[in-house]
């Protein structure tokens, strides 16, 4: 009986030690190590905590860009941590010990699309500027190469969905690539919207199908094209041989067929 009592005490002591020694951060941050290029909940918390202490000055958006990177390095330098701009367990633990994070407030503002900050020492309700449009949903947030905007992505997704929603994935990436190839070519307008809305350039613009809501697959296809994939091997035109009415399009040098479309130079 006495032996059992000691055992119970020992287990209780172990559990207590484990609870106390577990860093506070495990309740908040995930166990993932995050760095430049990351995106998501952990980055939102990282930005909010860095802003709480005045290291991070930009918008809290969940994207680990350079603003977050330099802020994190400055924090690491100040608190004697290895300065690498990477949020590992030690850095996260230190952040949790040194700052507060009002998750509910931050999530609430992000969902409402408000512009806000999360500085310490100032009432949070005084740090909200109400926005006019809802913030993108979590799964719609994307990180693009510097020369492209979210509007480019949206417009191209509309065009791809309107033009090629019945095509294989490769065919959808291909349509997006043609738009980008045209933007780069001196014979076409040099913006995505200029290319998409060039009269008679795309059937989907003429028949209004460009205004259909694109699905996730079309967006994914555009994202791949924006990131460099071009299944057309530099095509500037494409057409459906069953429906094309222009005789001129048949005179273009053809590169390859994907789904129902022939891609040409």
């Amino acid at each position: 009986m006495r032996k059992n009592k000691w055992l119970v005490w020992f287990i209780t002591l172990c559990l207590l030690t484990m609870t106390l020694s577990t860093p506070k951060h495990s309740e908040a941050f995930s166990g993932q190590v995050i760095e430049l290029g990351a995106n998501g909940e952990d980055v939102i918390e990282l930005q909010a905590r860095l802003q709480y202490m005045g290291f991070y000055k930009n918008q809290i958006d969940g994207k680990f860009g350079y603003g977050t990177y330099w802020a994190l390095r400055n924090f690491q330098e100040k608190f004697g941590l290895p300065v690498d701009g990477i949020a590992g367990q030690k850095t996260k633990a230190k952040l949790v010990n040194q700052s507060n994070y009002n998750k509910e407030f931050v999530r609430n503002q992000l969902n409402k699309g408000n512009r806000f900050t999360h500085y310490g020492g100032k009432p949070l309700e005084q740090q909200v500027k109400k926005g006019t449009s809802p913030a993108p949903k979590k799964n719609e947030q994307v990180q693009l190469p510097a020369k492209y905007s979210q509007q480019d992505l949206q417009l191209m997704a509309n065009a791809v969905y309107g033009e090629a929603r019945g095509e294989p994935y490769e065919g959808q990436v291909a349509v997006a690539s043609v738009i980008l190839n045209r933007v780069e070519d001196s014979k076409f307008p040099n913006t995505v919207s200029g290319v998409v809305f060039q009269p008679r350039a795309f059937t989907a613009v003429a028949d209004g199908q460009i205004w259909l809501t694109p699905n996730a697959r079309a967006k994914e296809a555009v994202l791949d094209a924006i990131n460099g994939w071009d299944p057309t091997e530099n095509a500037l035109y494409y057409f459906n041989p069953d429906t094309a009415t222009s005789a001129w399009i048949w005179t273009r040098p053809q590169i390859k067929t994907i789904g129902k479309h022939i891609f040409c130079e």
């Binding site: 993932q32 190590v33 995050i34 760095e35 430049l36 290029g37 990351a38 995106n39 998501g40 000055k57 994207k63 680990f64 860009g65 350079y66 603003g67 330099w70 979590k138 799964n139 719609e140 947030q141 994307v142 990180q143 693009l144 190469p145 510097a146 020369k147 294989p168 994935y169 490769e170 990436v173 001196s186 014979k187 076409f188 307008p189 040099n190 200029g194 809305f197 060039q198 009269p199 008679r200 994202l223 791949d224 990131n227 460099g228 994939w229 071009d230 299944p231 091997e233 009415t245 222009s246 005789a247 001129w248 273009r252 040098p253 053809q254 590169i255 390859k256 067929t257 040409c264 130079e265």
Partner: protein, 429 residues
């Protein structure tokens, strides 16, 4: 019977009102569009006259300060006419050639304003341009006036622009402008090199068989070892011949392209559902680095990774073997699944078109004098990048941080190591 007749009468009235309203809407829209097209067409014509004047003025002055305004006008007007033309429903071939000519003229004026065109060459080219613009403007005025007159019957214009056989006048104009481009702005050596590179002219390897590339694909991407494949060849108009492999293996579908010469991988994409698990970023980077090495690209460095909701997009660039400078034009892109880090895409188009690099001096710069004291340089490496004349230049690649009380901005700035000219300046997200 009476009730039915009344109901029919009411239905007919409703239909009549509906048809009338629709027709009115259609007419209103047609009028709006007609007004917009007329406005754009007239603007393009007026700006063409201004452009002619600016080209003439730019040849009058020798003094760089006096020349600055007409040069700026040429650049601005050519860009504005481009915008007008691209928003008009004109014959496609004509639009393309005219946009190309205007773009080249604008770029040339910009280069001149930067002192990159010798005076003698500038005078020769602009005298030609001026003569050609004079000739062209007469044709343009005639053609556009005729088109505007056709708008009296809007449907006639619509019919003409949609016609499979374009009118002779516009086809002739398109040929004329193409001729102007070739005579006034022939391809420079760098542009020609750029085109050769794009057309993979440098690949001299021996052709490989279809069977071999399929085997190669299955070895490179083991998840596809049992895939069902359909192989086709590029069409005769392709600048370089390649094999196109479509594959399907369980949940995976996609394609790969391999050059016929040497069987070099051009690109690959897999589409498959992504699970809810997430691998750490560090593990993803290790997998990406291991993958590029396995594919045989040993001389590359990971320079960028972007997490999106289902996948990671990762960029590698080739390193110069001598000075270890990054060669941004020789890049490889990888796409990895977030659930297990499987490589879902590879793009090596740019990497296999290796750049010819210049032998260039590295002249030290005092950054304190170069930048204002509002900024701090966070890192400095060497990198090759393309300038406006499509030449590769060795640059200092700087990450520059500008911080104020309210916000901070990071710039990636590439500065020529020899001339200290800013080749590229990007604000990073």
């Amino acid at each position: 019977m009476k009730i039915i007749t009344s109901l029919l009468a009411v239905a007919l009235i409703i239909m009549g009102v509906f048809l009338y309203t629709s027709k009115q809407n259609e007419v209103a829209l047609e009028n709006d569009l007609r007004a917009q097209y007329t406005n754009r067409m007239t603007e393009a014509s007026e700006k063409l006259t201004e452009l002619q004047k600016s080209v003439q003025s730019a040849t009058v002055f020798n003094d760089p300060k006096a020349q600055a305004e007409p040069l700026e006008d040429i650049w601005r007007l050519s860009s504005e006419i481009k915008s007008d033309i691209s928003s008009l429903p004109l014959q496609q071939d004509f639009s393309s050639e005219w946009l190309n000519y205007l773009g080249r003229l604008g770029d040339y004026a910009k280069l001149k304003s930067q002192g990159k065109v010798p005076e003698e060459k500038w005078l020769t080219v602009t005298n030609n341009v001026s003569k050609n613009l004079d000739e062209f403007s007469v044709e343009w005025q005639n053609a556009s006036t005729e088109l505007l007159a056709k708008q009296q019957s809007f449907s006639k214009w619509q019919k003409e622009v949609k016609s499979a056989q374009p009118s002779e006048k516009w086809t002739k104009m398109s040929t004329t402008v193409k001729g102007y481009s070739e005579s006034d702005f022939p391809l420079t050596a760098s542009e020609s090199d750029d085109q050769k590179k794009k057309d993979l002219k440098a690949i001299k390897d021996k052709p490989v068989t279809e069977k071999r590339v399929v085997k190669q694909m299955k070895e490179m991407f083991p998840t596809l070892k049992n895939a069902k494949v359909v192989v086709s060849s590029s069409k005769s108009g392709a600048a370089y011949p390649f094999y196109h492999i479509s594959f399907n293996e369980g949940i995976r579908t996609g394609y790969t392209d391999y050059t016929k010469k040497g069987g070099q991988l051009l690109s690959m994409l897999i589409e498959r559902p992504i699970g809810k698990d997430r691998i750490p970023q560090e593990e993803m980077k290790e997998k990406a680095t291991k993958a590029v090495k396995k594919y045989g690209f040993e001389d590359v460095e990971l320079v960028e990774s972007r997490e999106n909701h289902l996948v990671w997009h990762v960029v590698f660039v080739r390193l110069d073997p001598v000075n270890k400078a990054r060669i941004y034009a020789d890049a490889i892109q990888l796409k990895l699944a977030k659930d297990d880090g499987e490589v879902l895409g590879v793009n090596t188009m740019e990497y296999i078109q290796k750049e010819t690099l210049p032998d260039q001096k590295i002249v030290p710069v005092s950054w304190n004098e170069y930048f204002t004291d509002q900024v701090a340089i966070q890192s400095e490496v060497l990198a090759y990048t393309e300038n406006e004349e499509l030449q590769q230049r060795l640059c200092y690649e700087l990450m520059v941080l500008k911080e104020t009380k309210e916000e901070s901005h990071t710039f990636r700035i590439l500065i020529d190591t020899e001339t200290h000219e800013v080749i590229k300046s990007e604000m990073m997200n």
